[in-house]
């Protein structure tokens, strides 16, 4: 077993287990910490996929900023262990789990059934782009930057505006007393 394969299986195990615990932990703070673990695992997966810049961003934005936000909000709420962490309806619960299971089964089935084509696609793509991929592999950050700032500059700027709007909106929301109709 190569180191690549070992790394993948290890990281897959970490992310799936921590993801599972996000869903199953009744105490929200454990969920949050499990999510942080998942983020870190995903970040490491990005490294195995040669996306070094994204891995860093993932760590900083998700594991850093977003998770800190979540945890801080949880602390603000001072939530105790929940008595009803999950929905109660039996029929709906069954339907929900069934639909999730069928969905994932469908996709996995589709992916594995399409193994042949996927492999050939990968092969042809790698054959065609082998040189390019090898050449760009060490320098994906530069390629990402070029793509982002040249090809997708408009979307990038739009994202900037969006973030500004979100920042203002968030401040406004958290300062309000819970809905415009409740100005008492």
């Amino acid at each position: 077993m190569s180191s690549d394969a070992f790394l993948f299986w290890f990281l897959a195990l970490v992310t799936v287990v921590s993801g599972l615990s996000v869903v199953l932990m009744t105490n929200p703070i454990y969920s949050a910490l499990s999510l942080a673990m998942t983020m870190i695992g995903v970040s490491a997966l990005f490294v195995t996929l040669n996306a070094y810049f994204l891995a860093g961003v993932q760590l900083i934005v998700y594991a850093g900023a977003v998770m800190v936000l979540f945890v801080m909000v949880l602390m603000l709420f001072d939530l105790k262990h929940e008595l009803q962490a999950f929905t109660r309806g039996r029929i709906t619960g069954a339907i929900k789990i069934a639909s999730v299971g069928i969905l994932s089964g469908l996709i996995v089935g589709a992916v594995t059934m399409g193994l042949k084509t996927a492999t050939t696609l990968t092969e042809s793509a790698s054959a065609a782009n082998a040189a390019v991929a090898l050449k760009t592999n060490p320098d994906t950050t530069r390629a990402l930057a070029e793509n982002l700032f040249i090809k997708n500059i408009f979307g990038f700027e739009a994202l900037g505006v969006l973030l500004l709007v979100i920042a203002v909106g968030t401040v406004a929301l958290s300062r309000s007393k819970g809905g415009s109709h409740a100005r008492d």
Partner: protein
């Protein structure tokens, strides 16, 4: 190509299946959990799962566009988390409640 070893030869499909599993976990959480904050966390989980498949496609197709999309998704996810949490905070301040079943004002 000789018979591929499912364990040792890590290909696109492995990443895709992992992505599906994570996505399903997140979806199950969204459907089943009652805590508003945990719901938001599960949504983040789903987004991350999608990100994995994006990056995997990017690598195995040798095109950088997938990573650019991940960049966008991350931004949106951060924004969504910020707004969602702000809403949660403001709702909690008003009702002292984060159970999603409490907010059934859209009843037909």
């Amino acid at each position: 190509m000789p018979e591929t070893n499912l364990i040792t030869d890590i290909g696109l499909n492995h990443y895709l299946v992992l992505s599906v599993v994570l996505f399903s976990l997140g979806m199950a959480g969204v459907l089943l959990r009652r805590n508003l904050i945990v719901l938001l966390m599960c949504i983040e989980l789903m987004l991350n799962a999608v990100n994995i498949s994006f990056v995997a496609f990017s690598k195995f197709n040798g095109k950088i566009d997938g990573q650019v999309m991940v960049f966008f998704v991350m931004t949106i996810a951060a924004a969504e988390a910020a707004v969602g949490l702000a809403l949660a905070v403001s709702i909690f301040k008003r009702f002292k409640e984060v159970n999603i079943r409490f907010f059934e004002h859209l009843k037909g």
